[in-house]
Every structure is written in structure tokens, then in C-alpha cells.
Symmetry: C2
Subunit: 372 residues, 2 copies
């Protein structure tokens, strides 16, 4: 099976095309799995539309730093650079919010698959290594020329990074493990505790995952802010105590009414230029701002506002394997109900139009690709 | 005595002029004190040269916020706005790094002066209230039309905010209590602990105070970075384990050699546009950046750098009364020796030229005004 071709949405030179690519071959410590559901992530939209300029900017920063540091000591090497280390001129199949079914083990020796068996439904921390004990051979599944992601029919995953989905959990919900983990990590990173409240700016999938993670831990009040009534509705469903349309009411006016004098943590989950500055200006004194929205271009801020209020800006990225496992547990145990987040399901053929649809926040939150 | 005139460097319409102003009159809970020494603070230089544009910018931010929040609920009200609430067209005597001698008690009733007596040498948390129990009547000494600061001969201070300087402590060193408190607060705010190291960007008075506070707590290695050899010399004297000229060697190259793999906290004590971005770019993953340098204009940053490395930006302002008292104790007990920081002493008459001299970091660090 792993010598044939598969259907996939292939990115090459920042264009998306439905075509056929080789089915990848698992190494002994890996599994071959059939994609059952894969969420379309905002990062993939960013990558397709801003990938070239993002790389140009990172190259510029790296070159400036290298001028001081020498090529072997670049201090600007970021996770983002590592995770996007693919050749844009060669085919890449994106998609890292995966739920799959094991179809082949990389080794006849079952121990190499760590108990996984053909037919198991799994989710996987989307990292794969050519050599199991060597992180220098690491790839991000979905941002690699050699490890296609879930916008195709098959993927190769590290067995050690794959978790069996408990029986009875729908594959569509299991595919939301990865975005929920992002919210769990952001909430953990913020250090928010009982007795503090939260304001979530932006109720896209990242903001909604923060809301779900906050409410699963009993934190409140949680206010969600978004211009889109659809997204405010999703925020309310996922547990926001109040939602606000910032075009109608300033979020801090609402916070003043429902939050009282308790400390506030602001989650910036919009990720467009100007949002950090806006969050800093609305933040009460001594509050924390958790930046989880990915803003690619250069941005601005007023340091005096931060200084005058002694604010903390905490940037968050990704999640740990523990947080990933917790996300799966919460979904399987119905601690959170993310089903309303899924606003559409598409085939591989429909991926390009799904990318377009996602640019309109009014219509969509999370679109799942169901390859077959 | 408190009905006569005194000599002072008076700021009016963002100009400095040596002239005479009335000696202020203490209220019953206050004291009249003769200035023995007063440090010239970088904030005063900022105020004189950028005060007008700073106010214009703050007014713009406040107006934008008020459009959402209404006039009674401005979330942008910052310490800086409070502390600079003076009429620039009326005379202001700046100077808040004071060491003074009590010459008159506001009330014949000694209890109102809380044990202070005429002849006592004091330092004072530079805040005074018209009504002792009402912070709405608060003024910052030195940024108020009614509470002249130490660039004149006499000041009025709240007795409750004034601390007697232990006998034997030179007034010149006691006058450094305030700037040292800024360093103590920044270090406390950073949460730095034993086992972590520090890189201090900028070895002006604020950076040097951070170095002193770090070393007084046994934290190291501490690297100081400054283009000026004079300031690097001061950094080494105040306890930097290594100093670096960033024009010759990248600070992170030096850190890699002396810091090894221990966690790093970067103290940004330069306060010019671009420094936050630069600190973020050089910061190792998961490190903290403590912003203590006051940058007045709008600044820029690359959020992706912060996200990719999961950085924390912590902004710091001022100090608590406890930190202020600790600074005096450290100076009196010679835990720190700040004497080398004092690069010049001037009369009131010489204040305008001292302001000019301070614009050249090569020649000066802390200049003290000795009024008589």
C-alpha cells in the first residue's frame, strides 16, 4: 500500500493544487495511518498567503543577527523557523490537526509500535523524527516535504507521539485535540487561577479553545469579544459568561460590570497588527496579556502604556505532549463540547474553496477535511 | 522662613530658568526641608525635551479610549499621567531624588511629624498629599506646580513618607536612595532567583541600579552592556561579572560563554525605540525581558519572535515604600557602594548646563545638585 499514490491538496510555490503524491513509507518506529478527519488551521491560511513574506522577514532578522553572532550562533532561531523548514518549491501537504486510523505498522516487531495496532484510531502530536532519538531529524507533520499532513489521504506518524482515541469518541471531535491543546497551553502559560477573570479577544478557533480551557478549569467570569455574531454565539456556547461586540460596547465597560475588582488576564487571540497595543491600552493596571494570536508582520506598541500600568506580556506557542494528552482526555470524557466549533466538513477536492471560505469569519470557525 | 523666596531651576513652557520662587509652606502633616543633595534624573531630561509631545500623545490615546469608554471610565489612566499632572505654563521645580534636612515642622504638635525633628537628615518617597488620608489630593514632588522638587533650595514633604537617614551616611549617597529603589523594584518584579543570570542593557543610572540590586542579592553572572567605556567601567565597579561593548561583541556571544545554559533575564534599561525589539531578538527561548528603560515614543516589535521563543515582557515602574526603605538601608549599611555613580556635583545655577552634559553618556552618569 505504501508504494502507491494518494490524493492530496498540495502546496507548491505558495499555491494549492489537488493532485496525487506518493503515499509515504513509515520507518520502523512509525505508523502509516489513513486520515479520518483533519481541521484546517489558521496557520495554514497564513502560510499559504504570507509564507513568502514571512520567510523573507525571518531571513532578514536572521541575517541582521548573524552579522553580530556569526552563522553558528543565531539567537533568533525560533520554533516557527524550525517548524516551517521545508522547501516551498517542492510539494508540501499541510494539515496537522489530525485524527487517523492505523493501516500499517512500520515494523513487524509490535514493540516498535508501542502497542498500537492496525485499526486503532489515533491522534498525534504532529512531530516526526527520522531517527527516533535525534531531534535534529525532527519534522513538523504538515510543514515538511517528507511528512505530508492531513490534507491528503495518508500520513506517517511517530508511534511514540500517537495516542489511541478512546472508543466512542467521534473522529470529528478527536481531530479538535490539537487546537484545544493550544488553548490549554495558553491558559497554563498565563498562570491564571481561581479568583481571576479573563477577557478573550477574538473568538476564532484559538480564542474558543482558550474559552473552553478556562471554563473546564472553573475560571470565570470569562468575557469573549468578537465582531462576528456567529463567533459570539460559539463563544457563549463554549462557556463565555458574557460576550461583547466591540463595535457596540467597549469590552472593559462590560468587564467593569461583571468582573468587579478581580484581577484580569487578557487573551489576545486575534493576531493582527495593532491588537497588542489595543490590549495594552485596555488592560487594567498590573494585568497580564497572553499573546496567543499569531501576528506575522511587524507590529507597534506604546511602551509608556506598559510601563505606566506595569503590564506583563506573555507570548505563547504550541503545547506540550502532556497538554496534548489532556486535550484528548477532556474531549473523550466530554469535559468540553467542541462540536459547535465545527462549522463545515469538506472533501480534499473542496480544500481550496474551504481556505477561501475561512477568510470570512462570519460564516466559519473550524472546517474539517474528511478525505474519504 | 516659609514666607520668603528661594532660588530654583524653574521649568515653564518646557524651558528651564534660574530664578526665585516662593518657599513652600508645610501643612500640619508635613515638613519643610532644606535640600542638601538632589540627583538629576533621566525622566527630568525627558520631561524637558519631550514633555509637550508626550502629553500630546497621552491626550490622543486618552481621547481614543474615551470615545469607547466615556470620560469617567478611561482605562488608559497611567501612573505617568498621574505623576505629571501639572500645568506646564505655570512654574514647576523638578527634582525627586532628594536628601534634605528638616528646618521646620508643619505643626507644633510633634506627633503630626511622626518623631521627625528639626535638624534631621531625611530622604522621602517623593509623593505628597494635601490631605494625608486622601490619595486623590496626591502630588509627585518635582512634577507638581505646588510641590517644588530638589532643583530648588527648599521642599515640603509628607512626614509619613520621610525616613531619617542613619547618622554617618553622607547626604550624597543618601540622595541615591530613589534611583537604587528603581533597580530594587525592577529586580523584584523580574522574579529573578539564584541560579538565573542577568544581562543589563544600558549602564546609565537605571541599569547601574539594577546591577547593584542584583549583586546585593547574590545573583550572577550579571553582564552589563553599554557603548560607553566610562559606563562599562561603572558597571564593573558596581558588580558586573562581565561588561561588553555591543559595537565589538554581541552580548549573547558573551552570555553563551559565561552564562552557560542557565536561564537569563534581560533588563532593558536603555529606553529608546527599537530596544525592546532588539532585546526580544537576542533573548534565548522562554526568557524574561524586564523593561525598565522609559521609552516615550511609539515603538515596534516582531510578535512572531516573542511567540516563537515564548518570551515574557514585564514592564516595571517606580517602587514601593518598602523597596524605598530597603534602598536606604543598603546604602546606609554599605551593602552597595554607589559612590562611583556620582560623576559630578553642581549648584542650582549650573543645572541647565548639567542637563546638557547628561546628554553625553560618555562623560556623566549621576550628577548631583548641591544647592548650597
Amino acid at each position: 500500500m505504501s508504494t502507491g499514490l494518494m490524493r492530496a491538496a498540495v502546496m507548491r510555490n505558495w499555491n494549492l493544487e489537488i493532485t496525487e503524491v506518493p503515499i509515504p513509507t513509515p520507518l520502523p518506529h512509525q505508523i502509516l495511518a489513513r486520515v479520518r478527519a483533519c481541521g484546517i488551521c489558521g496557520s495554514d491560511l497564513h502560510m499559504l498567503s504570507h509564507g513568502a513574506e514571512m520567510r523573507a522577514q525571518q531571513a532578514l532578522l536572521a541575517a541582521q543577527d548573524a552579522a553580530h553572532l556569526g552563522p553558528h550562533n543565531s539567537a533568533s532561531g525560533t520554533e516557527a523557523q524550525v517548524s516551517t523548514a521545508f522547501d516551498p518549491a517542492a510539494p508540501t501537504v499541510m494539515g496537522h490537526e489530525l485524527c487517523c486510523e492505523v493501516v500499517e505498522l512500520g515494523s513487524k516487531d509490535n514493540s516498535a509500535s508501542l502497542g498500537l495496532a492496525v485499526g486503532d484510531v489515533v491522534v498525534s502530536y504532529p512531530v516526526a523524527c527520522d531517527l527516533p532519538s535525534d531531534l535534529r531529524t525532527m519534522h513538523t507533520v504538515g510543514y515538511s516535504n517528507s511528512y505530508p499532513g492531513g490534507y491528503g489521504e495518508y500520513v506517517v506518524l511517530d508511534a511514540a507521539r500517537s495516542l489511541a482515541v478512546p472508543a466512542g469518541t467521534p473522529v470529528e471531535l478527536a481531530a479538535l485535540t490539537e487546537p484545544l491543546a493550544v488553548g490549554i497551553h495558553a491558559v497554563a502559560k498565563s498562570g491564571i487561577t481561581q479568583g481571576e477573570g479573563a477577557l478573550v479577544l477574538g473568538l476564532g478557533p484559538v480564542g474558543l479553545a482558550c474559552v473552553a480551557a478556562l471554563k473546564a478549569q472553573g475560571i470565570g467570569p470569562v468575557i469573549g469579544s468578537d465582531y462576528s455574531p456567529t463567533r459570539r454565539g460559539l463563544g457563549a456556547h463554549l462557556g463565555c459568561d458574557e460576550v461583547v461586540d466591540p463595535a457596540v460596547q467597549h469590552p472593559m465597560e462590560l468587564w467593569g460590570r461583571v468582573g468587579g475588582t478581580r484581577p484580569l488576564v487578557i487573551f489576545e487571540a486575534v493576531g493582527i497588527p495593532g491588537m497588542i497595543d489595543q490590549a495594552m491600552r485596555m488592560a487594567p493596571r498590573h494585568s497580564r496579556i497572553l499573546v496567543v494570536g499569531v501576528c506575522m508582520p511587524q507590529d507597534h506598541l506604546h511602551p509608556m502604556v506598559g510601563i505606566g500600568k506595569e503590564l506583563t506580556l506573555q507570548f505563547a506557542l504550541g503545547y506540550s505532549s502532556t497538554e496534548f494528552a489532556q486535550a484528548l482526555r477532556w474531549i473523550a470524557d466530554a469535559v468540553v463540547d467542541l462540536e459547535p466549533m465545527i462549522t463545515d466538513k469538506v472533501t480534499i477536492q473542496q480544500i481550496p474553496s474551504a481556505f477561501e471560505a475561512l477568510s470570512d469569519p462570519e460564516r466559519q470557525a473550524k472546517i474539517l477535511v474528511i478525505p474519504t
